[in-house]
Amino acid sequence: MGNKTSLKAIFLIILCTLFTSVGQLLWKKGLISLNFNDWLSFLNMFIILGFISYGLGFILMLLALKSGELSVLYPIIATSFIWISIFSPIFFPTDAMNIWKWAGVILIIISVSLLGMSTRKTNETSSLKAVGDKND
């Protein structure tokens, strides 16, 4: 495993973030029309598409972690918090951001990025990075 994160890994993780975020929006859309008295309504098109999008995001993340460092990839993954904060209120009129929520989101993004940095300091592996190491 090299020290440098390849451009390919960065491209994959951006794509992963995109699919993951779209998956969240699809799930929310599908859950709004959920009828709790009818279990089959759980299997509506939006929720199924949400699972596909989320699953693709998960696979892309595994591929990216194979050839990239957490200290670079975690901050990019964390941008999905920004996309959700921007797009959820656009697609769902009942949802809205405010100063408290933005402060919380930004703090979480910084914190997740710090967590990525911590792997650079101690040189220890996370579960997913270990998957990549075994695969190399």
Binding site: Q24, L25, W27, K28, L31, L34, I47, Y54, S80, F81, I84, S85, S88, P89, F92, T94, D95, A96, M97, N98, I99, W100, K101, W102, A103, G104, V105, I106, L107, I108, I110, S111, V112, L114, L115, M117, S118, K121, T122, E124, S126, S127, A130, V131, K134, N135
Partner: protein
């Protein structure tokens, strides 16, 4: 304000998800990559992952996406705690800082919700 039911479901779901992480890590450490598919630990980890997704969907059906999604970062907190406790990984200043930051961020989102 976010309901205690949703908080509880996310708290439980993220713990299950982090446990799934831990079990998958154990599976990966203990087996050759080619044999991973036959590892019961891997499948247990995947099952726990699936369970945590169901918890997430339950929470999402009761609360706005811009509130529920950032709260899932609680998974990172559980993962740090579990990997120090069960994988002998070391704590360091960065981890303490990110732990505190994530928890404070979650509180802020709770206040704003």
């Amino acid at each position: 304000m976010i309901s205690s039911f949703v908080l509880l479901v996310i708290g439980f779901g993220s713990l299950i998800g982090a446990t799934g992480n831990l079990v998958i890590k154990k599976a990966v450490d203990g087996a050759e990559f080619r044999r991973l598919l036959f590892s019961p630990k891997l499948w247990l980890g995947m099952f726990l992952y699936g369970l945590s997704v169901l918890c997430y969907l339950l929470a999402l059906s009761r609360e706005e996406l811009s509130v529920v999604y950032p709260l899932v970062s609680l998974t990172y907190v559980w993962t740090i705690i579990l990997s120090v406790k069960y994988l002998n990984e070391k704590m360091n200043g960065w981890k303490y800082l990110s732990l505190a930051g994530i928890i404070l961020g979650i509180v802020l989102i709770g206040v704003g919700s």
